[in-house]
Amino acid sequence: MNSDRSGARALTGHRLFWPVVVLVVLLAANTIYRPGFLSVQLRDGHLYGSVVDIVRLSAPLILVALGMTLVIATGGIDLSVGSICAISGAIACLYISRQPDQNSLGGVLTALALALGVALVLGAWNGVLVAVIGIQPIIATLILMVAGRGLAQLVTEGQILTINSEPYKAIGVGHLLTLPLAIVIALAVALLIAAVTRRTALGLIVESVGGNARASRLAGIRSARITFLVYVISAACAAVAGFMMTANVSSADGNAAGLWVELDAILAVVIGGTSLAGGRFSLGGTILGALLIQTLTTTVYAMNISPQTSLLFKAVVVIAVCLVQAPGFRARFVRRRAPAVAAVTAGEQPKEQVPA
């Protein structure tokens, strides 16, 4: 009995408990609204179904969020991922559109390599600003976030570049071994990052840099090199996500591709239990967070609510999950509300009028 209760407490106290609850509730709500929601069919050797669609559509977000997880684990943040998605997608589409045969596999692979190379350079730029020059990450990456959209439009010359290339399109909507290719790619990247960080000391080193960069440098870790590395990885992940986004619609739009993906990715990471202060990360939690966000978006679409209004639900979920995870909020509900709080709130009223 006693062990049961402590077991239950350990379960509800787990940092991924509430995100999982929200995800299950969302899936349940969908199933009630549309009974066939959970069914998955095998058609022409490919898996089809709403759940498969959700996972497929969340693949770019998972990729971006995985890179973001490593950056946030070092105590940084990368706001430029959305712009990097747009630039890499634009470069790949531009190169393919200049090919005489857009369906040639070699041409597509060259385009991907070229775009990935540019993304790595952009990641290195972020890395140099943060690790070498020592600029605060949120500002260093803000530069590329602002300028990157302009660069993406420069590449596409303000147009929406449409391409007609089967191999490129496959990245977004193709299948491999019954699974959508996008899911396979996201899974492969997730496993690769998990293996490199959790099967070697790299993950521990990243966390130690996030915990205290100076102390880890004194302990013999090249902090600056690790910091540089995570921004490059983040940019590479964003580039692959950019390929998926543009391949999904077979066109590159410098303005719309990857818009706000950085915010969604940061949300996914936070929902997944990684602290924005750095020093700890959970790749599984991040993937769960990304799936939660995409499920929420799909649910809102399925219920015929305007896509923009889905932001309202997103706001509610973000605040709810963050509050439940916040130590300050938990402590307040374990103990009684401190009387000082009421006094401060009451004293607040006259101050509001000051700027008027």
Binding site: I133, I143, G148, Q308, S310, L311, E352, V354
Partner: protein, 329 residues
């Protein structure tokens, strides 16, 4: 003579480091304007400067609010959405036939209320401002489309009068009422930051929140106050925008928070807090406005060059702050 030059040299060497970014922004503004005047004959027209103010009045007001938040070391991502929501609510209520005074009151209350709530969450539950104001941004943007999916025109008499009223000199140059409102906001904000306790507290918290707390300063109250102020400025900005466009549209001012943050940083305010001036923010907004005007005058450059140039300027100014040794945490 010798003493004079000596004093001058000494004052120059004593020029506080925190003034350097603002001076650099001022010099940049003069250079940009000089380039404009030398390249295009019509650029020297006074109305060009007035137009920069008319087109960027709402940006200026919102940037002033953001300066408060950034001075405490926080950030407010919700301002663009709050601007849109305020314009949207005004347009909606006016369309329903509500009196202009009531609409103004309601619209001006929404922003500060949201800012107050966000400040409370940030302070009491110790959640990162970035995440909380992100949720606020989603909420406000969602509310816009919840009110209406399409743009709502404003035909109210008071609004059209405010929009069309021109205050000018005999030679035909004019500004709109929005510009005057923006100036009043700037003056009040500059006074509050420089000469009131609230202003001192803002700088103290941005310098070091821990020390400010140990000194007995009301850290929590001040922190909530700055988000409320930012929300209030965003609400005024929303009203000014609705004067300017005479409509409320759900997707207006998307990404405006980036321009605002860029203007504040270019204006010399350090993003970790504790150093910066409202005057710098005014210069920052003017730099953005003059760049836009230059690109419009040129005609051959496309609009995306604005973003690239702003990004480049951000880089230059952050590097400058770094070089002159303003502390980064």
């Amino acid at each position: 003579m010798t003493t004079l030059s000596l004093t001058a040299a000494r004052t120059w060497s004593r020029l506080p480091r925190r003034h350097v970014p603002v001076l650099a922004t001022g010099v940049l503004l003069l250079v940009l304007y000089g380039v404009g005047v030398s390249q295009y004959r019509a650029f020297s027209n006074v109305q060009v400067i007035f137009n920069v103010f008319i087109d960027n009045g709402f940006l200026l007001v919102v940037a002033v609010g953001m300066t408060f938040v950034i001075l405490t070391g926080g950030i407010d991502l919700s301002v663009g959405s709050v601007v849109a929501m305020t314009a949207m609510v005004s347009a909606f209520l006016l369309g329903r036939g509500a009196p202009a005074a009531l609409v103004l009151l309601v619209a001006l209350l929404i922003g500060p209320t949201l800012g107050f709530l966000m400040g409370c969450v940030i302070h009491f539950f110790d959640i990162q401002p970035f995440i909380v104001t992100l949720a606020g941004m989603f909420f406000a943007r969602g509310m816009c489309t919840f009110i209406s999916d399409s743009s709502i025109p404003i035909t109210d008499g008071f609004w059209t009068r405010m929009s069309q009223e021109r205050i000018g000199d005999p030679s035909g140059n004019f500004v709109s009422i929005s510009v005057l409102i923006a100036f009043v906001v700037v003056a009040v904000a500059a006074y509050v930051l420089a000469y009131t306790r609230l202003g001192r507290n803002v700088y103290a918290i941005g310098g070091n929140a821990q020390s400010a707390l140990l000194m007995g300063l009301p850290v929590g109250r001040t922190r909530i106050a700055v988000y409320t102020i930012s929300g209030f400025c965003a609400a005024i900005g929303g009203i000014l925008l609705s004067f300017y466009t005479l409509s409320g549209a759900p997707l207006i001012a998307v990404g405006m928070e980036l321009d605002v943050i860029a203007a504040v940083v270019i204006g010399g305010t350090v993003l970790t807090g504790g150093s910066g001036y409202v005057f710098g923010t005014v210069l920052g907004v003017l730099v953005l406005g003059v760049i836009q005007t230059l690109i419009t005058f040129d005609g051959s450059l496309n609009s995306w060059w604005t973003r690239i140039v702003i990004g480049g300027l951000l880089f230059a100014f952050i590097l400058l702050q770094r070089l002159i040794g303003i502390r980064y945490k």
